[in-house]
Subunit: 265 residues, 2 copies
């Protein structure tokens, strides 16, 4: 998503040019290019797929909406398996229209994980519950802290359900470093993502994630937290940013690699 | 601030018309109308002043900036005393330019409270540390949760330093209700403020607070939390909202009273 302006073949080429050995993919561009075609493209290029984003949106109350969500998440698991990644990231979903019941919504996510975890395991895929910044709690994700994500994940085996640790969502929370250690000790850090925090936030607050080094997050400290917790998996850079999307994608990828080396290594 | 389009005399009249017995004031409009003049106006109208907003911005590193902040906060304490309110609300401040050190910034707030607490006590004023939503952590307030605010406040006597509980900033946090109980047991809920959470957030995210009943917050449950914690003080409604500010202030105040009665009583 950091360079969503690139087509799938352009992305693969740009990763090779920039020395990026692995990439996280999003479902919509994969579906647009074709699932089997994408899987073949990345496999032949020797590009590893770190994660597939995203399943989730599991908070519907009505049975039909809930069944649709579960069907879609099973499809997302299948897509992840086809792409050769072992991790499906979940954005859990916000409050249903008119609801004020955060606790109930979180419990419905647990119910869904109980159905999806075994399905994913059979296909070699782990689910990564991603806590999103509290500013998304009503409309996108009622799981707002790493504590909440782990409390959900720990109801299930670690090889079925873990968490996604994203600096953009967690940087402000003084409890998060200890929770990273908790997650690592349980083998539940299923992916680690970097973005910086910059202000002012744009309208809707979705597409204002900062390029690495531009903001308030001590990225090197965060790498230290996950490494001290035993995490040895890939480090993803996930920037939703209108300004970056308006530029040449190859240039943005090269810049991101440089920023990564300057601020996160 | 909910009806900042009203002049000070208009505000006093509108409160009388709407049956509002007390009002929280902000420093800028008070200074504009004149401190002594405002104090006289509200006193003669029989209108109680619940709180003065806001002191704070206590995170500067440089000695000159720190001295200026302390001077300004002492002035704010004096203003509160003159207005006849016992509570000064503090918005603690964000990260200094270029800093990524949230912990250090929070410690500088503690240092400032140690100087300001006794000064305020001598003048019959309590300080209320207000945790702001985590989306303000970098540029406005590094105190993001009620837990953090209480951890700061509890270093000092409760009659010097407590907290402001504002539903807008805390509604998403599943730990907050227990922390309200903790605050109440210690006599540290120095004010209670209502606003609703609505999306999409506007650019800059400052002026998008929802009218009561328009959003995701269970306001009645929150009144229950503070009442169960022993709070018997005023309930303030603080809405930063461009749409409300563009309307007739008297109409907005009457609407707010009606919403309060419908959603928070």
């Amino acid at each position: 998503m950091t360079v969503k302006q690139l087509s799938m073949p352009e992305l693969v080429d740009a990763c090779r040019e920039s020395g990026v050995p692995a990439v996280g993919l999003w479902r919509a561009p994969v579906q647009e290019y074709g699932l089997a075609r994408t899987a073949k493209l990345v496999r032949e290029a020797g590009l590893n797929v770190t994660t597939l984003c995203r399943g989730g949106f599991l908070t519907a109350v009505d049975p039909a909406g809930r069944a649709r969500a579960l069907d879609d998440n099973r499809l997302a698991v299948d897509e992840a398996a086809t792409l050769g990644t072992d991790t499906l990231v979940l954005v859990s979903g916000g409050l249903p229209a008119g609801s004020k019941d955060l606790h109930g919504a979180r419990e419905r996510i647990a119910d869904a994980l109980a159905e999806l975890g075994p399905y994913a395991e059979e296909r070699g895929v782990r689910l990564a519950v991603e806590p999103l910044h509290p500013m998304f709690a009503s409309d996108r994700c009622v799981v707002s802290t790493l504590t909440q994500a782990l409390d959900l994940a720990e109801r299930f085996p670690a090889h079925q359900v873990g968490v996604a640790v994203d600096t953009y969502h967690l940087w402000w929370d003084d409890r998060a470093p200890a929770e990273v250690a908790r997650a690592g000790a349980a083998g539940r850090i299923h992916t680690f993502q970097l973005a910086d925090w910059t202000t002012p936030l744009p309208e809707g607050v979705l597409n204002g994630r900062g390029q690495l080094g531009d903001g308030a997050v001590d990225l090197r400290a965060w790498r230290g937290y996950v490494e001290a917790a035993g995490y040895t998996g890939p480090v993803e850079v996930e920037l939703f940013n209108d300004a970056l999307w308006s530029r040449d994608g190859r240039e943005v990828l090269a810049e991101t690699v440089a920023r990564f080396l300057a601020h996160a290594v």
